[in-house]
Symmetry: C2
Subunit: 155 residues, 2 copies
Amino acid sequence: MVMSAQPVGSVAGRQWAELLHAIGLRQTTPRLMVLDALSALGHGRVEDIHQAVVERAPAVSLSTVYRQLETLTEHGVVSHTHLLAGTKTYQLVSHADHAHLVCRDCGAVVELDGTIAARFTAEVSGTHGFTVDFGHLSVFGRCAGCAPERAQEAG
Amino acid sequence: MVMSAQPVGSVAGRQWAELLHAIGLRQTTPRLMVLDALSALGHGRVEDIHQAVVERAPAVSLSTVYRQLETLTEHGVVSHTHLLAGTKTYQLVSHADHAHLVCRDCGAVVELDGTIAARFTAEVSGTHGFTVDFGHLSVFGRCAGCAPERAQEAG
DNA sequence: GGGTAGTTGCGAACCGTTGGCAACTACTGC
DNA sequence: GCAGTAGTTGCCAACGGTTCGCAACTACCC
Ligand SMILES: [Mn+2]
Ligand SMILES: [Mn+2]
Ligand SMILES: [Zn+2]
Ligand SMILES: [Zn+2]
């Protein structure tokens, strides 16, 4: 058997119909599920996305998830960044309007302040003529909680 | 046969002797070659480093290069960043005092201006209490030359 | 309701990286 | 100098994430 057993467009899909039609991609169950998963997860690795998809459509293969992420990326609907070593973390481009700070020690991920991001972008553009790809930017380092114990009087 | 045929410490090694002795690592040909390669290359992928090493010591295996980079990283002599998709780019920590701007279109890599970097670090620290790992930071985007044609009167 | 091009599931292939192991050697202490 | 020992290495198999090939299937247009 190929494809999923679940009918298309029941609950999911609806919000993607217009988008997919505009870029000329068919509304298939796997595709809609991947979009739903990304929307719900915010961002996730291929395996995370596949797992989320399989919960509602058990027949969707990992290969298909890979292919969907590739296709959707080519069409500008999805992008990726690197929040963990060794793998890409995918996200909807609509979610890629901010950069991330990733703690090496505890793995915490927080969004970079918009003002700082804007100034950084402006300066890089002015000095280097370089346009920063925000959604892809991940800044690794150590968060406040994991910093070597020091002025922790407030604790 | 194991090990290389080239004697240790002839030309290379000399500058690493003190460093390696201090951290308790033996001065082996593969190790010295990897350090020399990193020093000469600035930064490179495992395959680049291996290729450089093999030019002077043909017997050094790829596995050993991987192990050296791992060991030297654990001892704080080497670090890595990501200048290309899918692989780590290794460098001496002494070279990791700056971040990089990487152009998606032409692949150009330039060092980020120190002043911008310093301000960014300070702001991130102040607002998020987050300490940025500079050497690992790679900013992807599009360089001036690859930007969509616009005000190019000076051409 | 057909016809067709786009999609999919499956399984194999791929490829960068890691691991196991016996041989070998840099370093220590004599 | 020279043996003893722990650290290293080369070889090669294994591993795990990602990509491919292909025949079956189906969303979409008419
Ligand atoms: Mn986010
Ligand atoms: Mn550099
Ligand atoms: Zn942390
Ligand atoms: Zn460029």
